[in-house]
Symmetry: C2
Subunit: 709 residues, 2 copies
């Protein structure tokens, strides 16, 4: 198991739409050849099939080769691509609009209006990013945590009043050490996984399937929380500046999630420049806060300002300090983004990626510790109405332009951080689906090259969580650290195993780095899980467990399915072995019935016609009509005294199928196709009920002969 | 039009399940023969089809001849029949339980638990009723109106205080005359329609299709109101006796409707004895009330007791009197039941039916007038909390056993009246559906020989109306008279036309009777519509108009459909003319695909295999596998840069179908059938999406080759 999963690391890690056709292993290839050989056996002239074709198979194919453009999977998409494709797409759009019924067309138009025209697969390309662009693109998630991490930490400490707040700086120091350790640890991952090494890939490749699933579960929970927390913190930045909006925080946040959903379904990917601006703006805003804060503190000779009078419900014990530590550690979410995205760097990729990671971690440490220090010196403590950063900025700048800039930059980076999750969550699901541990639908890229299904799942889950917690950041924090540090721990542990197994160049140093990372992440994971369990971490723990259980069940289902559809030359019939009987169930003798009869007779196989009568009198009438027609085909009339039509038909067919095992029954059903959905109310819909019940019979083939009135 | 509809009167009027196979007119029969002749043309040995059959077509047929039992359509059903059928049904039940998926089985079990085992068609038989049984069975609806008619009338008059109430007796006299006229009029209908002459049949047969629809609409509205009003009046009889239940009138009423729904779906028909008891009890209760009331009044020398002090919001003008008249006339609902049910009488049917009608009308007049007189003499006026009958009974008897008997008998007959509507409403819909003016689903008898669809529609409509009016009787009354008298008027007018057209024995007298009935009913219809329009009659008027519009639309749809499916030997292909091409869309090469390929090849028709690739690379991989298999069949790979699989397939097939008009395309889709609904979430469901889109293409036949993993 471990060995075969490890092979995944050598696969190109980027999602591709080709994954829907699975590779055939050598055994299956041999079986395929054997199946084909047996087919050939009975046929005199194997080319006869090809010559018999009454049409030219040169169908309207799409232009087959499309050159990759400079617009890529992770990159500015492609107003230009859209416009260039306009003419092609217009054709396809027209075609698909002509086909469906009224409802379908409306749905199609709404879809196009919301999402735009479909994009070609070739639009997936990998733009190589300069470090100056890569840094803001990949670090938005991590750096944005500074907006809520320090505050989450202080919110715990303040419960013990001034005595509690005195621990802020030591805890911040400990978190800085943790950041350093995790950063160094991820530098090793980047070297080992030049194709990108997310936690799921590293953990499942080195530790095995189940640890991999736990890592994936941690990541997925983490992304859901990233969206919920980023949106709630972003809305808090807004309502701090404009308090009159505080009452509508939940609707605003849900609106933001809806916009993120629509934007990501449209495939509006994070353009480099679009990301660069708010990230750098936030870095600048925090730098200014720290600078002004320190200057202000210098005027008071760095004596910490007295915090406001506090009620002190708890004492500053070890438990409180651990809880504060776990809350502050949420500032580390998003650190693994760079190790995921190594291939998007310029050459030499891993070296550039490492440099970028180093810069990011340094920035993160400086910004986090700096923020805590300045908050401490200025005596700001979290309070209900306003975020701590907002209080600090207002205290330092007053309510002017600089204050507005700080709040806007904070809201901006948080929005982008949430958007990052919309890219990462579906990608993890894609990897899971590729390993048959998530539904196949997550393999499918939508019209717009986005993994639409995963995006929708994330938006729904995040919106539900956000609404359930009333749009508040604080109560969400306890759920957060569990998932993040579970993924970190398993990923680092996987690296330890990798280094030990390979024992290559400088393996001892790398192993040591990752071992330290593992131990520290693991400690935080256990701390967070234990101290915050009742505060909400249990939700995350249950989500992780449920997810792992589901994934195992799905894998089992797909494995059984794969075994069932595996080619086995002995079990299936060749065309020469198939013996046919066509059965035509008829209720009346009209044109639709005649068409089905003619179709059945023209196949040149034996035909049996079945009619179900509610009464003997009706049966006699039907037989009369049948004789009038000429009784060209064998007819069997079943009198069903219970007036059900479908059950006796299915019963007769089932008994036929049971008594004649070798026979392939083709049930040829005349079906009147209505143009509008409401017209279906005026029909019996026996055809669709029959089809639904017959599907469960073995060796019964179901043929619909549609009639369009 | 009129002539062809008139033929309906000669049809056996009782609903039968055979109606689902329409009679072929001579033109269609000729076409059928011609279609058959052309089929025979190209075939050397016309018996070859019959000899080729690889199976014995002696299928497990149901026992074909079942003798009608003494249990009938309108009669005690058949615990005995159920038990006798137990063994047969057990078989069928087993069979149908084995077939469907988990959900299906649960639904099936719930259905059986609620509704019981299916009943044979032969359970429809016509019990001949003695007059003594027929009277209570058929007059429950009419006589029960005495429970609310007088009160509805007084409730209007009391608005003008004592001056208004003084008009009670003259108005009651006028209504008695009206009852007499309508009764005499219906005696003519009974003679002319020995097979049963409901308003719809008489009006559409003699006046034409649109008047028939208006009569049917009036009847249907009437039945919905009968249920709503009877239930609300019955609940009022209950809450008058037990005032503490008054607050939960609406839930109680809805519960009663639900019980009626379930009972009627079960097909628990009105057993004669079951009906006889409450009807005779109610007749007795009213007789006692009148007797005691008159005796009481005799002690006061028949001076009317002073009514309580009244506020007098309105004056006793003509309008008020007309409104009171229209309200009181609701006591006539249900009078037409006997003329509907002539064939259920002993011979000579029409004579017995007429006698019964005469007795019923006499009873109705006596009970109605007697009740009004006694109410008048005792000075009881309608008041909010209690029904007038309850007040009267309490005043005469005190709160003892006789009072309880009166209330129970009232509630009982009202319940039975509502139940009558559950029999009549679906029957009118059946006639409408037989004339293609209502959806075909109303032709279908359920497992239990009940017209389940019509029963459900009635229950839903009545429950909605009942709830919308807060379970109160008074505001429903203005809606009532319109529908009833519309149907009466059109039915009587139809009789006038019939007599004039036939001019048989004693036609002048009959025509005169019906003419008087027409004029009087019409006058009441106009009075009720005009004076009560704003009070609620507009609801009934709109319902009638909407219904007629819908029925006309449905008839137009069915007429177009019938023209489209009409046999026309020149338009359709004989088996010899059909040219085939089978197309197999494949996404992977597994056992399901191989089975579809083998099936396609074994049909002996040209085959083309289609594969849609999202990328050129995947296309190449597929072609490799194809060659490995031996490339026995022609393959066409379509590269779809937009990753959609279904749209390009449908596009290719559509262009094939368009370019080769004579060709019949059979699309053979391999389809993996899942066992449980949730497993469908783990599959792509391309097959069903493909089928849905392909249905709309002409000359494309869709074949599913199911694979059960």
């Amino acid at each position: 198991m471990v060995a075969s999963e490890a092979a995944d690391t050598r696969r190109p890690s980027m999602p591709s739409p080709s994954e829907q056709l699975p590779d055939l292993d050598p055994g299956q290839q041999a079986a395929l050849g054997e199946v084909g050989r047996r087919w050939g056996d009975g046929i005199d002239d194997p080319r006869s099939w090809h010559e018999a074709l009454p049409v030219d198979p040169a169908l309207d194919a799409y232009p087959s080769a499309v050159a990759p453009s400079r617009f890529g999977r992770f990159v500015p998409v492609a107003v230009a691509v859209e416009e260039a494709d306009e003419s092609d797409e217009a054709e396809e759009t027209d075609e698909s609009e002509r086909l469906p019924t009224g409802m379908g067309t409306v749905r199609h138009r709404v879809r196009r209006a919301l999402l735009g025209h479909p994009l070609r697969s070739s639009a997936i390309a990998h733009e190589r990013m300069r470090k100056l662009i890569a840094l803001p693109v990949l670090s938005a998630d991590a750096l944005s945590s500074v907006a809520y991490g320090p505050e989450a930490m202080l919110a715990i400490l303040v419960l013990a009043g001034t005595a509690g707040l005195r621990n802020a700086l030591p805890i911040a120091g400990a978190i800085a050490v943790l950041m350093l350790a995790v950063g160094v640890s991820y530098r090793q991952t980047i070297r080992a996984y030049p194709n990108g090494g997310g936690s799921y890939i590293v953990a499942s490749g080195n530790l095995g399937r189940i640890p991999g699933l736990f890592a994936a579960a941690g990541l997925l929970v983490d992304y859901v929380l990233t969206v919920a927390v980023s949106v709630s913190a972003g809305v808090a930045a807004l309502t701090s500046a404009v308090p009159s909006l505080a009452g509508s925080a939940v609707p605003i946040g849900l609106g933001v999630i809806a916009v993120l959903l629509a934007g990501n379904l449209r495939g509006v990917r994070q353009a480099g420049a679009m990301f660069a601006a708010p990230t750098y703006a936030f870095i600048l805003a925090v730098a200014l806060l720290i600078g002004f804060g320190l200057a202000d503190a210098a005027r008071h000779s760095f004596h910490a300002a007295a915090p406001p009078h506090l009620s002190v419900p708890q004492s500053a014990g070890v438990l409180l300090i651990l809880r504060a530590f776990a809350s502050g550690a949420t500032a580390m979410t998003g650190v693994e983004a760079i190790s995921d995205a190594v291939p998007t760097f310029h050459k030499a990729e891993w070296r550039n990626a490492r440099t970028t990671l180093t810069i990011m971690i340094s920035l993160l440490i400086v910004m986090f510790v700096g923020t805590v220090v300045v908050l401490h010196l200025s005596g700001v403590v979290p309070s209900g109405g306003q975020t701590a950063l907002s209080q600090l900025a207002r205290r330092l700048y007053g309510p002017g332009l600089l204050y507005g800039f700080t709040q806007a930059a904070t809201a901006g980076i948080l929005l982008l951080a949430a958007n990052t999750a919309f890219n990462d969550f579906p990608r993890v699901l894609f990897y899971l689906a590729r390993d048959r541990q998530a539904p196949r639908m997550f393999l499918r890229m939508g019209d717009r090259l986005a993994f639409s299904n995963g995006i929708v799942v994330l938006a729904v889950a995040a919106a539900a969580l956000y609404a359930a917690f009333g749009g508040k950041t604080d109560p969400l924090i306890p759920l957060f650290a569990v998932g993040v540090f579970l993924a970190f721990t398993l990923s680092q542990a996987g690296m330890v195993v990798l280094w030990w197994r390979e024992r290559g160049d400088r393996w001892r140093r790398s192993l040591a780095c990752n071992a330290v990372g593992t131990v520290m992440s693991g400690a935080v994971f256990l701390t967070a899980g234990a101290t915050k369990f009742l505060e909400g971490a249990w939700v995350a723990v249950i989500a992780v467990l449920v997810f792992v259980g589901l994934a195992l069940g799905i894998r089992r289902y797909y494995d059984r399915l794969a075994a069932a559809v595996e080619l086995s030359p002995d079990q299936d019939q060749t065309p020469q072995q198939i013996r046919h009987l066509s059965v035509v169930p008829l209720s009346v003798l009209d044109r639709a019935a005649m068409r089905a009869l003619a179709y059945a007779a023209s196949l040149g196989q034996p035909v049996l016609v079945l009619h179900v009568s509610p009464t003997e009198e009706e049966a006699e009438r039907f037989r009369d009509y049948w004789r009038l027609w000429g009784a060209h085909l064998p007819l069997e009339v079943v009198v069903s005294p219970y007036r059900t039509t479908v059950t006796p038909l299915v019963g007769s067919l089932e008994s036929l199928a049971t008594r004649h095992r070798g026979l392939t029954l083709t049930v040829i059903i005349p079906e009147i196709v209505v143009r509008h959905w409401w017209q279906a109310l005026l029909h019996d819909r026996i055809a669709s009920r029959l089809r639904r019940m017959l599907r469960h019979l073995p060796s019964v083939v179901i043929t619909s002969v549609p009639f369009h009135p």
